[in-house]
């Protein structure tokens, strides 16, 4: 049994060789995704091979950081004690303009005002090790 920490916390995302370029770019607040040059399509989450053609034909590209809320849920009863955001907070799937979907939070917005289809843009939360976590706010 561990005692819950008193200060708000974020589970820190692990990284590996494959995803390192993504997380390194967040140090300078840039949002990257992969692109398969054979399939001509975006890929997320980061992989060594394209999930369409299995080729090692992926290159990194930078996202505009703009997108829309594909769907969301406002978490009223959190699972994690002392999660970084006070409940209720919004967890959303964001569809980036470049065509990939990723999970994130919608911040700087009353959870009651979040809507499917709402335009959002990336903003960054600093992590303990200097990386940043992508968050989204109304555009």
């Amino acid at each position: 049994m561990t005692t819950p920490p008193a200060t708000p916390t974020r589970p820190q995302p692990p990284e590996d060789e494959t995803s390192r370029p993504f997380w390194e770019a967040t140090r300078t607040r840039r949002l990257l995704y992969q692109w398969c040059t054979v399939c001509d399509r975006p890929v997320f989450f980061p992989r060594d091979i394209c999930p369409g053609c299995l080729g090692s034909t992926l290159e990194w590209r930078e996202s505009s950081g703009r997108g829309t809320v594909y769907t969301f849920s406002n978490v009223h009863r959190p699972q994690m004690p002392n999660f970084a955001l006070p409940a209720p907070y919004t967890v959303a799937l964001i569809e980036l303009a470049e065509g990939v979907r990723l999970m994130s939070n919608v911040v700087n917005c009353d959870p009651e005002q979040v809507r499917v289809g709402m335009a959002v843009k990336v903003t960054w939360e600093r992590l303990d090790d200097g990386r940043h976590l992508p968050q989204f706010e109304p555009a």
Binding site: M1, R10, P11, Q12, P13, P14, E15, D16, S19, F45, Y70, T71, F72, S73, N74, V75, H76, R77, P78, Q79, M80, F83, A84, L85, P88, Y89, V91, L93, R101, L102, M103, S104, N105, P111, R115, V116, G117, L133
Partner: protein, 390 residues
């Protein structure tokens, strides 16, 4: 290509749960008790068994039982594992690889919590730490698991099709009405749509009563060939069709949050069975949450995509309704020990045999057990039928 249609049959089932939510027995002893009861139901003994299925470790189970199976299956697709086991077992039996196959499940999260005295209980394996994609791409955002992903599907369904919280709530209300007729059900007091909507919001738009239980429960099934089934005491329940499909593991990778892989598993299972949705007398559709059951209704073709809310709102899935669903009281009101798919099969078999007591439907001939595992990830559909449908 061969077909499984009618090659194998369920010949024994057992399950256990309690209105207290807690079972006395746990662990392998509970699994062994379920297997013993299912074999007794079939008129078979452990020495007849030459195939075992377990959603975690069929080797450890067989070792405990002291048997040396020639067919083994440890497939784990979460809640749909036992439908997938049935598909594999039917194929193995049809191919002559096995004669009598058992699958078993037992889980006691409620009792475990008490036994661990203040510990956090068994957990469900959804939030594993360590180097996995979920830790990197989902866990930092604080989504409650497994409820959050279903809430996201419900939000999207509401935005896309106008589905209302009241319509989702009606699924819980109709299911509870069935539970009043199951003496083992955790909750047996009738509820109203208002009760659901006034229960605490967990992850919007899902309320507490939109969510399945966390209770102890266990069950087992026995399957054999149609030839051998004909010699046994109880009426065989034939596997007429089976299909499985998964299209993601993490919710952030699900292609379309309002359409599940059940479209594929259902089409394949119904096609193999040679049936249409109209032919189905009972749907046992995995109800981890109200939205889960609603998506099954659409994806299996019982109503058009987007119409699930309007389909259920008149209470037709409850007692006396035109479309009975989850007659045992479901994961919402009967029991939900974590991987509920076992109970779908047990209830379908009992209904087709006419053994469902107060909640017995009038002469059902075709039932569908539709399991959902992970977070709307792995769908597995079984079409089951009586002798008349074979």
């Amino acid at each position: 290509m061969g077909t499984l249609r009618g090659a194998a049959a369920f010949v024994g089932v057992a399950d256990d749960a309690s209105p207290t939510g807690e079972l006395e027995v746990h662990g392998r002893a509970l699994e062994a008790a379920m297997i013993e009861a299912a074999l007794a139901d079939a008129g078979l003994s452990i020495s007849d068994v030459d195939g075992v299925c377990h959603a975690n470790n069929s080797m450890a189970l067989a070792e405990y039982l002291g048997i040396h199976p020639r067919f083994t299956d440890s497939t784990s697709t979460g809640g749909s594992s036992f439908e997938v086991h049935a598909e594999h077992a039917a194929a193995a039996i049809a191919a002559g690889l096995a004669d009598v196959v058992v699958s078993v499940y037992g889980s006691t999260p409620q009792g475990d919590r008490r036994r661990n005295a203040g510990g956090r209980g068994g957990g469900r394996g959804f939030m594993m730490a360590g180097p996995n994609p979920q830790a990197e791409w989902e866990m930092p955002y604080g989504l409650r698991q497994p409820m959050g992903p279903y809430a996201m599907a419900a939000t999207r369904h509401m935005a896309q099709f106008g589905t209302t919280p009241e319509q989702l709530a009606q699924i819980a209300v109709s299911t509870r009405a069935w539970a009043t007729m199951n003496p083992k059900a955790r909750h047996r007091d009738p509820i109203t749509v208002d009760d659901v909507l006034s229960s605490p919001l967990q992850c919007s738009p899902l309320h507490l009563l939109d969510c399945c239980l966390v209770t102890d429960g266990a069950g087992a099934w026995v399957m054999t060939s149609a030839e051998r089934a004909a010699e046994l005491a109880k009426p065989p329940v034939y596997v007429l069709g089976a299909g499985t499909c998964h299209d993601h593991q993490m919710i952030s990778q699900m292609p379309d949050l309002t359409t599940t892989a059940g479209v594929i598993s259902g089409t394949n299972a119904f096609g193999m069975a040679g049936i249409k949705p109209d032919d189905v007398d009972l749907l046992m559709g995995y109800d981890s949450f109200t939205i889960t059951a609603l998506l099954h209704l659409e994806d299996l073709g019982f109503c058009p995509k987007g119409e699930g809310g309007r389909f259920v709102e008149d209470g037709r899935t409850g007692p006396g309704g035109s479309f009975p669903m989850n007659t045992n009281g479901g994961g919402l009101s009967y029991t939900h020990p974590g991987m509920y798919g076992m109970f779908l099969i047990v209830e379908a078999v009992r209904q087709l045999r006419g053994e469902a007591g107060a909640r017995q439907l009038e002469s059902p001939e075709i039932a569908v057990a539709h399991g959902s595992g992970g977070v709307l990830s792995c769908m597995s559909t079984l079409v089951l039928g009586t002798e008349a449908t074979r």
